[in-house]
């Protein structure tokens, strides 16, 4: 068990209990925060785009080509990731992400 911190689009910080093996997108969605995740985690829509706090970036698996292709379809920053491609495990206890702007 552990937590993730999510900053929503209004700037409010939420601390959510995380479960091992869940995708970060799924954790955020399960707690009812407004993340779309339209394709259900298939890395096909980029609506679960988040900005990962700098100190956590190199603790994550690098993005695959497939994830980079999807990131091409949104406005990214250097710390952009798709939260459906981050599987939570206890090493990520305290991970902090910010929801990217909703896809227009």
């Amino acid at each position: 068990m552990g937590v993730i911190h999510v900053i929503d689009r209004a700037g409010e910080r939420h601390t959510l209990e995380a479960l091992e093996g869940w995708r970060v997108m799924e954790i955020i969605r399960d707690w009812g925060l407004p993340i779309e995740g339209l394709c259900g985690g298939a890395c096909e829509c980029a609506t679960c785009h988040v900005f990962v706090s700098e100190e956590w970036l190199d603790k994550l698996h690098p993005a695959t080509d497939e994830e980079e292709d999807q990131l091409d379809t949104v406005m990214t920053r250097p710390n952009s990731r798709l939260s459906c491609q981050i599987l939570w495990n206890p090493d990520l206890d305290g991970l902090e992400v910010t929801l990217a702007p909703a896809v227009g």
């Binding site: 394709c39 091409d72 227009g104």
Partner: protein
């Protein structure tokens, strides 16, 4: 010229669930027309993940998104549904009574109108629309300086065109518009493209010969007094910025789904989903049904198989609207000669 079509049922959305509803309705002698905003049938399965394997379709240990769609298309073939692709339903007007519903449905693109006795909304996550990049004030330039699709190439003749993106649409339009544009610039966030290799090669050679520009970065601001665009500010990965002059910008960021006009049809909505009962999958408007990912009810699972079940049950109630005087006999395709005749397989 606008067409008018009279039919039993209009199905909005030609994804897997809409397609299978054709089968269940067809067994009950109910005729359908399907409307979809995409140029092809299959919905998300065909548009978002045609090559992805699906493992939870009963009877298929593994099938790809496109494979499932192809099989559904051949399964409903005996019922000859009519597809209206590249069309979006704009308005739905109730012209009947709760006991004998009747609807007038109008699409946006060709202005086709339909009169139908029941409407089945199988629109999944909504209608596919181009993704709009979140750039401040972008709406103010839409239709003058910002376009999400190319309808007529001639519009871009002698214009300074900026194309944004790294996929097939971005690359195809780059090589197609380059000969007629005054100057063409392609902007992408990284120096890797997921488009057909020969198109990428063609773009690279145009850059090498000085006939177009390629920049890496992302648009941070639009310049010019709206609605007239005259340039953009581009931000590079290292945070530095530069400017590019352009008359039009074409962002090709793929598709997303929007609930769209459904919100205006008098249906109850709950967080962009349509509440239904779990006996008939009917909405608060008698005669309008919602099946698949777009509906909600206690215990709802967004699974394709749930949508199949929902379509089968909705069809039972639709039968009562379409054939109010006929008694519905429950039959199996394995044993019923009449069902087998409809499927064209009777001995």
């Amino acid at each position: 010229m606008t067409d008018h079509i009279e039919t039993d049922v209009v199905i909005i959305g030609a994804g897997p669930v809409g397609l299978f509803a054709v089968f269940e309705l067809g067994l009950l002698d109910i005729k359908c027309h399907l409307i979809d905003i995409l140029p092809k049938a299959g919905g998300q399965c065909a548009e978002l993940y045609p090559e992805k394997p699906i493992y939870d379709i009963p009877g298929f240990p593994m099938v790809t998104g496109q494979g499932l769609v192809d099989n559904l298309m051949s399964q409903i073939e005996p019922f000859h549904p009519t597809f209206h692709l590249n069309e979006m339903v704009e308005s739905v007007e109730s012209i009947g009574t709760p006991e004998a519903p009747l609807f007038r449905v109008k699409t946006s693109e060709n202005g086709t109108t339909f009169t139908c006795k029941a409407l089945i909304i199988a629109a999944g996550g909504g209608s596919f629309q181009p993704k709009k990049p979140p750039i401040e004030n972008i709406e103010a330039y839409e239709g003058t300086g910002v376009f999400y699709a190319v309808r007529r190439m001639e519009m871009f003749r002698n214009k300074k065109v900026l194309i944004v993106g790294g996929g097939d649409s971005a690359l195809d339009w780059t090589v197609n518009l380059q000969p007629i544009a005054k100057r063409l610039t392609l902007l992408h966030r990284r120096d890797a493209f997921r488009a057909a290799p020969h198109t990428v090669e063609k773009m690279r050679s145009l850059v090498a010969s000085g006939d177009m520009d390629l920049h890496l970065g992302q648009v941070s601001h639009l310049k010019g007094e709206a609605p007239v665009l005259d340039g953009v500010t581009i931000k590079k990965d290292d945070g530095s910025t530069f400017e590019v002059e352009c008359d039009v910008i074409l962002p090709f960021f793929g598709l997303t789904m929007k609930v769209g006009p459904i919100a205006e049809w008098g249906l109850n909505l709950h967080e962009n989903l349509i509440p239904v009962d779990t006996e008939k999958f009917e909405t608060n408007v008698p005669g309008i049904f919602a099946i698949g990912d777009i509906n909600t009810y206690p215990g709802k699972l967004k699974l394709i198989l749930s949508g199949f079940h929902e379509g089968a049950l909705a069809a039972q109630k639709v039968h009562r609207y379409v054939y109010p005087d006929k008694r519905l006999l429950f039959q199996y395709t394995t044993s019923s000669t009449s069902l087998q005749k409809k499927l064209g397989v009777a001995a």
